[in-house]
């Protein structure tokens, strides 16, 4: 006899949620997890869930058996090698002597049951590896020792008791579901640790703010938004697996895009296959848009287009620079930014005297910059992330290299850049997509400045354009859902309709106009250039929205205090 397993309900009681999201400055999610039902929402508690996924790690280290045995990390599972008394194990019981602590399984709503008496007995045929899937088959933990009659798995009475207990466990979930409308569950895979851990955490925070703001205003079509977030550890393969898990395992209604072109490249391939629209505000490599995908969208300009402003603004100054050196880290986004620099230097009549890509792990920036200095270019254009940008500025100063202008594809727009480098950051230019002073508006946050202030109020730091672009994507998707009057759970045809809507029309967001081309790239957004002036980022391009004149030429290091 086998016990029927209410698998879905059992799994839902096992989701892990942090006590409170992102009190940590970088939104670090490693806080003591607790087990709660996904459909219960406690008053005052945010709905955002972070689920720790250790399964890949486990699978690699211990093999698939381990994966099955303890998919839910917080559940205390203990293996014991002690031989059990005959009375406790029937003759066909398998070797996995799993003992689970019941007090953590039984959530509120269950009768208090202090005795640790759920001893695992499994059907060997059902679990040939002797393992027990806690997530999907909670009810395979059965009966107190002695209750099972020899030769049988469990007595009918015991089974009845267990089913009753489980029924009580899931009852509050059902009642909660009945009382409140289903949440709109949106999945997000983003880097929270590893090389892009910092940038990814910012994107996660931006989405969290969007979720909180939307929920405060009554949700999307009356349904609260609930984010399900996984950390891809800055690894593409992990990211792809986790997107699959969100779609197939967690059955989320929609997705949002993470950070980093390489990661999003892999992740969007999975979402495309499952026909889930994915809008990313943190990836802009051209390759993302050259795959003929219909469900992938990016709110940032393409990497090669993003740097257009940096070169064009230099075409407007006198004396106009004649030569340029282009260097950049050899990864997808920054390498493409370098290609963009090259393209727009050619169209603006600036000769490229040095072009070099280097590995992200480079330690010796001084030799590189000394070499570039030796070529004596008028301007230096760098394809960068934050770390590369900071290292480059430090090395420029050390080898005393002062070109007439220096521009970065990414980095200086992160407030940390100017805060840490202080005076050395002055007059550095950067490609941007957004500043809070631009006249953009939407119905969720209000103006760009309102978003800027709300973000600061929530996280005590200012948002960068990537946060704004991420939120812009989330708002665009939200507007599409609202316009189609869709309600969760969303079906396949709903997602097709959302995709078509996203292609069909433009959306006004606090990040600016979002209008997707056939390839999913945002074509409505003009490139913006900012410059660090007096420790602040000033918008210097396009001229019509500029809030400061460009400082040119770059003040030589020798003349700075």
């Amino acid at each position: 006899m086998r016990i029927p397993m209410p698998a879905r309900q059992a799994q839902r009681t096992m989701e892990i949620r942090p006590h409170k999201l992102s009190e940590h400055p970088c939104g670090d999610q490693r806080q003591p997890p607790s087990t709660k039902s996904s459909h219960e929402s406690l008053p005052g508690e945010t709905l955002l869930q972070i689920r720790f996924d250790f399964s890949f790690f486990r699978e690699e280290i211990f093999g698939p058996a381990a994966l099955g045995a303890s998919k839910v990390p917080s559940l205390r599972v203990r293996r014991t090698d002690r031989p059990r008394p005959r009375s406790a194990c029937g003759p066909r019981k398998v070797d996995a002597n799993l003992v689970a602590a019941p007090s953590r399984l039984l959530q509120k709503g269950c009768p208090p049951d202090p005795l640790p008496k759920t001893v695992g007995t499994l059907d060997g045929a059902a679990h040939p590896d002797g393992s027990c899937k806690l997530g999907s088959g909670l009810s395979c933990f059965v009966a107190a020792p002695g209750h099972a009659s020899p030769g049988n798995f469990i007595s009918i009475r015991t089974a009845g008791i267990i089913l009753a207990v489980l029924g009580l466990c899931v009852l509050p979930s059902f009642s909660a579901v009945g009382a409140e409308p289903l949440p709109l569950r949106i999945g997000l895979v983003v880097s929270l640790t590893g090389v892009f851990g910092h940038d990814g955490a910012l994107v996660k925070d931006a989405y969290a703010l969007w979720m909180e703001t939307v929920n405060k205003k009554g949700g999307v079509n009356g349904h609260k938004v609930e984010l399900v977030v996984y950390d891809n550890k800055s690894d593409q393969a992990t990211g792809a697996k986790l997107v699959e898990k969100l779609i197939v395992g967690d059955k989320v209604d929609l997705l949002l895009g993470g950070f980093g072109s390489d990661q999003v490249f892999a992740e969007s391939a999975v979402s495309e296959r499952h026909k889930f629209p994915m809008i990313s505000g943190g990836a802009s490599s051209n390759k993302l848009f050259e795959r003929g995908y219909r469900y992938y969208f990016g709110t940032l300009g393409k990497a090669t287009e993003e740097v257009r402003g940096c070169v064009e603004v230099l075409g407007t100054v006198t004396p106009k620079p004649k030569t340029a050196a282009i260097i950049g880290a050899d990864i997808l986004f920054t390498a493409l930014a370098c290609e963009g620099y090259k393209k727009y230097c050619a169209s603006n009549g600036i000769e490229v005297v040095h072009f070099e890509l280097f590995p992200m792990k480079l330690q010796d920036y001084n030799s590189l910059l000394a070499k570039v200095k030796h070529k004596n270019p008028d301007i230096l254009l760098v394809g960068s992330h934050l770390l590369v940008a900071m290292n480059t500025v430090k090395a420029m100063k050390e080898v005393d290299f002062s070109p007439k202008a220096v521009a970065f594809s990414y980095g200086p727009t992160v407030p940390r850049f100017a805060a840490e480098l202080k005076g050395d950051a002055e007059q550095v230019m950067a490609a941007s997509e957004w500043t809070p002073r631009l006249p953009y508006k939407d119905h969720v946050f209000g103006s760009a400045m309102d978003f800027h202030n709300a973000y600061f109020g929530r996280f005590k730091r200012y948002p960068d354009y990537v946060e704004a672009a991420s939120v812009g994507g989330a708002v665009a998707q939200q507007m599409a859902v609202e316009e189609l009057a869709l309600k969760p759970p969303l079906k396949k045809e709903h997602r097709v309709a959302i995709m078509e809507k996203l292609h069909a029309r433009g959306f006004d967001t606090c990040y600016g106009r979002v209008e997707f081309d056939k390839d999913g790239a945002n074509v409505a957004h003009p490139p913006v250039v900012v410059q660090v002036q007096g420790g602040e980022l000033k918008n210097i391009f396009p001229k019509e929205h500029a809030d400061a004149e460009m400082l040119y030429p770059f003040k030589p290091w020798k003349e700075r205090k």
């Binding site: 910092h198 955490a201 070499k371 030796h374 934050l386 770390l387 290292n391 050390e398 005393d400």
Partner: protein
């Protein structure tokens, strides 16, 4: 052409000084205990953060707070060795690899949750500025670090050669059992050795803080470089760290200047490979081959 060559040479030597400064502790620990300390980079990170926080919170210059880093890291290293690594010191090498790798993860992640993933930088008044001689720039901070490396090598050398504790350390490194018979407390000596290694590393970490970007996950790169430096200089041979560091620094700088920056990373591993195959005892042939 000429100034570029000299600039590359100076860059290489200064970089080598930095490499030597932070590889010395690694070399000492390896030489005495045979432990490849995979948490070495985290000690550098802790030293750099000590310099950073002293500067950010108290306004103390990193070079003045370097002794603080030295003392803190000595205590930390001593305790880690005494209560953690000593437990596996007689086990096969793989155990100490696993253990120090675990320590690396613990320190890095605790630092990550304490100080977040933000990139930090110590912006002193002299950061990036330097001396200009015949068209060659010599940044102050790197030059000071270079001298600290030389000085630390000298002090360590005299400490090991001339003091009671130093002799105990050397005796333990040569023959553990014999040292024990001669009345040396081997475990205590190990703890002191690791403490000294950590102290020198902390000192180096604080010294490099004015010109590197500091963040909790910075350690691993440094561990890898320190390993290369120590292999080049001769494993366990103290002046080898200085020689290996300078050799690697100049090799990388020349490659970056005359070939490409990408090649300079590759050349490190090419040299490492060639050394391990053809000259495993290091440049001057005084390293131990375990």
């Amino acid at each position: 052409m000429e100034p570029l060559f000299f600039q590359a040479l100076i860059n290489g030597l200064l970089l080598g000084g930095v490499y030597a400064a932070y590889s010395m502790g690694f070399c000492l620990v390896f030489g005495v205990m045979g432990v490849v300390n995979l948490a070495h980079g985290e000690l550098i990170m802790l030293g750099a953060f000590t310099g950073y926080w002293c500067f950010a919170l108290l306004g103390v210059d990193p070079y003045l707070s370097a002794p603080v880093a030295c003392v803190l890291l000595f205590g930390f290293g001593y305790l880690v060795q005494k209560y953690v690594i000593n437990r596996v010191i007689d086990q096969p090498h793989i155990m100490s690899y696993l253990l120090t790798f675990g320590i690396h993860l613990i320190i890095a992640n605790v630092a990550l949750s304490l100080w977040s993933h933000d990139y930090r930088s110590v912006a002193t008044t002299y950061s990036g500025s330097g001396l200009r001689v015949w068209g060659v720039n010599i940044p102050w901070a790197r030059m000071v670090t270079f001298w600290v490396a030389l000085l630390a090598t000298g002090v360590l050398w005299f400490f090991l050669a001339g003091t009671e504790t130093g002799r105990a350390i050397r005796a333990t490194a040569m023959d553990k059992e014999m040292a024990r018979l001669m009345g040396v407390d081997v475990r205590e000596t190990y703890a002191i050795t690791f403490g000294i290694g950590a102290a020198v590393t902390g000192l180096a970490g604080a010294c490099i803080s004015p010109f590197v970007v500091i963040f909790p996950e910075m350690g691993l790169e440094y561990t890898i470089t320190a390993f290369c430096v120590v292999v080049l200089g001769g494993m366990g041979y103290m002046p080898g760290a200085l020689l290996g560091g300078l050799f690697l620094g100049v090799a990388q700088s020349m490659t970056a200047t005359y070939l490409s920056a990408g090649m300079s990373v590759a050349i490190t591993f090419v040299i490492l490979f060639l050394m391990l195959v053809f000259r495993p005892t290091g440049i001057v042939g005084k390293g131990s081959v375990a």
